[in-house]
């Protein structure tokens, strides 16, 4: 139901763009006004979200991360999983962002039986999520970077090279991009994972399905433009360059699928700052990834401690309440005689 609702919402967006740019011919609005507004909302919303997160204190270090922490010199420390210095933490963060190590460590719980047929709970490696995620994210990144050919003039050599390398399979004309297959394949597999695995489906919400359908919509409309509708790419470059150089030329003769694609991308941009897609910036603020485990080296002060409340040692506590404690028969470190 939630999945169908999300799908219908994305289809509604497609209909809005088809009717607005196709039937109603509102080309300037769909080519310039909406993407421009969406980009501004995306940038401002993203920065505001990060700033609002930065205002929240972290009460304590979170040292319970995988791997051996820094200990006695003859115990080997797992520096990338349990770093104790800044540079080590940087490596952990870089590996997390670039290779998704915490997904690679994903496990699933299974029930097996031992030789005597007694039930045994086991934890086995489950790499599928990592595989689908890495396909999807790198596919998406390549697609976004490759699109810079429409945003930059002259096209820089690295972008040209990327476009060539991405189409190196030389299947069909225009050639099929590897990144398109990774993006659409990865997103589809992530969606199927939510739909087919009962436990995942139980916890999936509209805000899990909607971004997947929206991204699939973006990717499929893009692929449709390239492989099926065969849109006029030079006309599109003129429109996109108009967006970038702030010269708004009214485009002519561009297929409606372009406006649908741009509208879906605009929706995605607007959606990012208000949704779980903010993990794009939020991953850098994960306390279990960005805090070195140095609690035994540096004293960490909880930022929300009340400075008016002074430390109160046990010795001072006993000094304050010694008479009452003696009366109640509680054990004392120092009797009143010893104290005196």
């Amino acid at each position: 139901m939630k999945a169908i609702f999300s799908l219908l919402m994305v289809l509604a967006l497609v209909v809005i763009a088809t009717v607005g740019a196709g039937a109603a011919q509102m080309h300037t609005i769909f080519a310039y006004c909406i993407p421009r507004t969406a980009f501004i909302i995306f940038m401002v919303g993203f920065v505001c979200k990060i700033i609002s997160w930065a205002k929240r204190p972290v009460p304590f270090r979170i040292p319970t991360t995988g791997g051996q922490q820094q200990s006695l010199p003859w115990i080997k420390q797992n520096k990338w999983d349990n770093p104790s210095t800044g540079p080590q933490t940087f490596i952990r963060m870089a590996l997390e962002v670039l290779t998704f190590r915490s997904l690679f460590r994903n496990t699933k719980t299974v029930m097996r039986h031992d030789d005597g047929q007694n039930p045994v709970v086991g934890y086995v490696s489950a790499k599928w999520l990592w595989l689908f995620a890495i396909m999807f994210h790198y596919g998406f990144l390549t697609v976004v970077v490759r699109h810079m050919r429409l945003f930059l003039q002259p096209v820089p050599a690295p972008i040209e090279f990327l476009d060539w390398a991405d189409g190196i399979l030389q299947i069909l004309a225009p050639t099929i991009y590897i990144s398109d297959m990774l993006l659409i394949g990865g997103a589809t597999l992530l969606l199927l994972r939510r739909l087919c695995a009962p436990k995942i489906r139980y916890i999936s919400l509209v805000n899990d399905y909607f971004p997947l359908f929206l991204i699939l919509g973006v990717a499929c409309s893009g692929a449709y433009m390239r492989y099926v509708a065969k849109v006029d790419i030079m006309g599109i470059k003129e429109v996109v360059m108009g967006l970038i150089t702030l010269h708004y030329a009214v485009p002519a003769g561009i297929d409606t699928s372009f406006y649908v694609h741009v509208f879906l991308v605009s929706c995605l941009l607007v959606y990012i700052p208000f949704s779980k897609l903010m993990h794009m910036g939020g991953v850098f603020l994960s306390p279990t990834r960005n805090m070195p485990n140095d609690t035994r080296i540096n004293h960490y002060v909880n930022p929300w401690n009340n400075p008016a409340i002074k430390p109160h040692s046990y010795a001072a506590y006993e000094d304050e309440f010694r008479e009452h404690m003696l009366e109640a028969g509680l054990p004392l470190e120092k009797t009143p005689e010893q104290k005196a």
């Binding site: 940038m43 993203f46 920065v47 990060i50 700033i51 930065a54 205002k55 929240r56 204190p57 972290v58 810079m148 050919r149 429409l150 945003f151 930059l152 003039q153 002259p154 096209v155 972008i159 040209e160 476009d163 060539w164 189409g167 030389q170 069909l172 004309a173 225009p174 065969k230 849109v231 006029d232 790419i233 030079m234 006309g235 470059k237 003129e238 360059m241 108009g242 970038i244 150089t245 010269h247 030329a249 003769g253 910036g281 850098f284 603020l285 930022p303």
Partner: protein, 130 residues
């Protein structure tokens, strides 16, 4: 209002802004982009199909031509108006568009497209150069 780890977070945000605003900076101050003007043949007014069709579908057509000519041995193309053409990049297309740099490359460079036509074909005007 205090920011925790403000220095690092602001640095990150500056990097974010730089990356996403880079296309604006790259094109800043440049004149409005207009589509490249390709060199059109002087004595011929019509291509084998309509201009709109050729603009968007020439790659598909060239791909079909290659398959028909080299794999099926079919050497005659009949266009939508019933006119016949020899299926040949060298003898038909490049008879009117002999200069790759002034015709093909104009748009292909701007769109960063690198078609593999020239892995096999030579261009009449450009000699043996790819």
């Amino acid at each position: 209002m205090k920011l925790y780890n403000g220095g690092k977070i602001i640095t990150g945000l500056v990097i974010f802004l730089c990356v996403f605003l880079a296309p604006f900076a790259y094109n800043a101050g440049k004149a409005a982009y207009s589509q490249p003007k390709v060199q059109l043949p002087k004595d011929e007014k019509e291509c084998i199909e309509s201009k709109e069709y050729m603009r968007t579908n020439h790659m598909k057509l060239l791909n079909q031509w290659r398959d028909w000519a080299l794999r099926d041995g079919k050497r005659v193309y009949v266009n939508s108006k019933g006119k016949s053409f020899e299926i040949s990049l060298q003898n038909t297309c490049m008879k009117c568009h002999p200069n790759k740099a002034e015709f093909c490359d104009k748009c292909h460079n701007d769109a960063a497209v690198s078609p593999y036509c020239w892995d096999c074909h030579y261009q009449p005007d450009g000699g043996l150069k790819k």
